[in-house]
């Protein structure tokens, strides 16, 4: 299974091209919210470093453990989300300390990264990579 990796976070220029790519290609909208990858400024000593927040595909995913309805599953080393089983309880959102799963209030479903690599394809500064 391919796996998205934030390879060089320090190289991020904060252009959000990855965010727009996820929204456009995976979710079919123009948005900074409906995206499984988020870019935030963090302030800090040198002004504004960027935090790239996305699913790291944990070996033992806390989100999968937290889901009581088997809507989130590990399958062949990848994360699988079955929306029809999801009850919108947000347990997965709370389980992920990284904040990689956000909740889409409009769709009433969590936004789960599929590790498709669309975001990495549109990163101009070599921040993201897909491991296969």
């Amino acid at each position: 299974m391919p796996r998205l990796k934030v390879k060089n976070p320090e190289r991020c220029i904060g252009c959000m091209s990855c965010v727009f790519a996820c929204a456009r290609i995976v979710h079919g909208v123009i948005s900074t919210d409906r995206s499984a990858i988020k870019v935030r400024t963090t302030g800090g000593v040198i002004g504004s470093e960027f935090a790239i927040i996305t699913c790291r595909l944990c070996e033992e995913p806390a989100c999968v453990h937290a889901c009581e309805y088997e809507a989130l599953l590990m399958e062949k080393g990848g994360l699988k989300f079955e929306p029809e089983k999801c009850t919108a309880c947000k347990a997965c959102v709370e389980a992920c300390l990284i904040g990689a799963i956000t909740f889409d209030e409009e769709l009433n479903k969590p936004i789960v990264c599929t590790h498709c690599g669309s975001c990495a394809e549109f990163c101009p500064h070599d921040v993201l990579e897909v491991e296969t």
Partner: protein, 580 residues
């Protein structure tokens, strides 16, 4: 798209769908010009509550690479006529996702406030606790702690210069970008408006997912994978220092010269090799042209350092570097920092200080006026003190400097070397005729309207007659008026040709039936309508003698020739204004 009108005096806001307005004028420049004409009463005082602030974006904003800018329009407190300034950062995308094509701000708050816009909600917050803070950067840091939506919000704010009504105060946009020119920060200050925080989480519809993805990919590929915008990413605009210097076009020591013997030490290459620490980008722009230098300044014997992050660009290096005879990049960065934290327009500040230095040399002003600041070329400490005094305005002299170079020279003399055209201090290109004529005649007196400097450089290769120069300027003026309705970053103007713009609009279902140039013309006309209404007269603009005394890229310039070109330009405008 919706227009949000904010009434500061009553602390209320209302949003209205303005379909026809956006259908007719697309967005950006066109919508802003129309809203300015409607909302700004004729002859109003630019510092009165009647002067509105208009912010506008376009249909491509946040939807395509490099469509990242916002147009601001207002009556300029510096020139008394059209005030127009553009900025990037996160503002365009934030407006888009909050659901507004334009924002109109009217009135004056009773005490300092800032506005927090979160989707459909508008909150008026007491800003008294952040009024008077010495740095626009600090204000940003404080607001970051209290406002929601990090990463997708925009925080725009004024520094002390805006509060103190310096006529060329700017508005800082997300720390490293600005509404720089023509005094928007001063208008904010006059309204008791310290800042605007805006964020939104709305989604934009796509007419055709396939068409959109294709159009996006095509544009992204050109922007990222070809050389078209490479120079803006690599060295940034500072790359222009060396070539302009070689061309005898780099205004030096108040344009007593057009070449600077230390150009190498303030060049884009020098900054990149010695100070560049990172690049950042506006939302939705993969170029990353914002160049940030890191300066480490020791403050004790114990290896302690102040670490400063300072953004730089060509115009700042010209205005606070060569124009002031500052021979080292480090010193230029110190001045940029001082000016930027104060919230002043760097170009105007540099020109004002350059005039003051020459006026001091010629004894038009004395130490009594300057409060013991001894101006000399390259005297960075004196300049930094003067910048603080321009903000504080402790006496008549600094009050005059705070009103711009034309006003100061009118009062103290030295008008022949006060580098303003139409009351706006000049950008850094002594390339020749088209630059001067373009500065004067362009709707916002900016080199950004018609790139006269670029036409001058073309004319070096193939000589152009005055008529040809004027025609080229006007053609560019019209086209940019159109491009600015979409508020595509002008750096990417070569990428977005008619065909690509059509494809992009089509993919969003926002097709424009109009002829692009005809629409540009119409908007040019609207802007001139405002200028003329507020008293601008092309033939009344004085051209300081200095422009004719210093060799340009095209050699010595002749007054008669420039006047002739202005006459031709005026004829064209009159023709346009009479046409239906």
């Amino acid at each position: 798209m919706r227009v949000l009108t904010i009434y500061l005096s009553e602390q209320k806001a209302e949003a209205e769908e303005q379909k026809e307005l956006f259908e007719k004028y697309i967005g950006g420049d066109g919508v802003a010009a129309k809203l300015l004409l409607e909302n700004c009463p004729k002859g109003c005082d630019a510092l009165s509550p009647e002067n509105p602030v208009i912010l506008a974006i376009g249909p491509l904003t946040a939807a395509f690479p490099t469509c990242s800018k916002v147009v601001a329009m207002f009556k300029s407190p510096l020139t008394g006529e059209l005030g127009e300034s553009h900025a990037g950062g996160r503002l365009g995308a934030a407006m888009r996702f909050a659901g507004y094509g334009a924002i109109v701000i009217k009135g004056r708050a009773e005490h300092p406030v800032y506005i927090s816009i979160q989707n459909d909600s508008v909150f008026f917050r007491d800003a008294r606790s952040i009024w008077g803070i010495s740095s626009a950067y600090t204000v940003g840091k404080i607001l970051r702690g209290v406002e929601p939506a990090p990463g997708r919000r925009s925080l725009i704010r004024i520094g002390p210069a805006g509060e103190k009504l310096v006529r060329y105060a700017n508005v800082n946009v997300d720390t490293y970008r600005h509404f720089g020119r023509l005094g928007l920060g001063c208008v904010f200050g006059s309204k008791n408006l310290k800042a605007i925080a805006i964020s939104g989480s709305k989604e934009l519809p796509i007419a055709s997912r396939k068409k959109y993805s294709e159009a996006y990919r095509e544009l992204y590929d050109i922007v990222v994978n070809t050389d078209s915008l490479k120079k803006y990413h690599d060295f940034g605009t500072a790359v222009n220092v060396n070539p302009l210097n070689q061309l005898k076009a780099l205004p030096t020591r108040n344009l007593k010269a057009s070449q600077f013997e230390y150009a190498e030490y303030i060049s884009g290459e020098y900054f990149a090799e010695n100070f560049l620490s990172r690049r950042v980008a506006c939302t939705g722009c993969p170029v990353g042209c914002i160049h940030i230098a890191t300066l480490q300044i020791p403050f004790s014997n114990g290896f302690e350092f102040e670490t400063k992050m300072i953004p730089y660009d060509y115009e700042l290096i010209y205005a606070l570097g060569s124009l002031l005879g500052v021979p080292m990049g480090e010193s230029v960065l110190h001045l940029i920092e001082e000016v930027d934290h104060s919230g002043l327009d760097a170009i105007t500040t540099g020109v004002v200080l350059a005039w003051a230095t020459e006026a001091y040399e010629q004894r038009l002003i004395s130490k009594r006026d300057t409060l013991d600041v001894a101006f000399f070329w390259g005297g960075v400490e004196a300049y930094a003190k003067a910048v603080r005094n321009i903000v504080r305005q402790p006496n008549e002299f600094y009050k005059a400097l705070a009103r711009g170079v034309a006003y100061a020279a009118g009062k103290y003399g030295g008008e022949d070397f006060a580098l303003a055209l139409g009351n706006l201090e000049i950008a850094g290109y002594h390339t020749g005729r088209a630059n001067i004529v373009g500065h004067i005649a362009a709707p916002r007196h900016g080199h950004l309207d018609n790139a006269g400097y670029s036409i001058d450089q073309k004319a070096l290769k193939k000589p152009m007659k005055p008529e040809e120069v004027v025609d080229s300027l006007i053609e560019e003026d019209y086209w940019r008026c159109f491009v600015n309705t979409l508020v595509i970053c002008l750096f990417a103007r070569s990428v977005y040709d008619e065909d690509k713009i059509k494809k992009a609009l089509d993919a969003l279902g926002a097709t424009c039936e109009k002829d692009f140039v005809a629409l540009g013309k119409e908007i040019f006309k609207l802007k001139y309508e405002f200028k003329l209404r507020e008293g601008f007269r092309l033939d009344k603009v004085k051209i300081p003698k200095r422009f004719y005394e210093t060799e340009s890229s095209q050699g010595m310039l002749r007054e008669e020739e420039i006047k002739e070109m202005l006459r031709l330009y005026k004829g064209k405008i009159e023709e346009l204004l009479c046409s239906k």
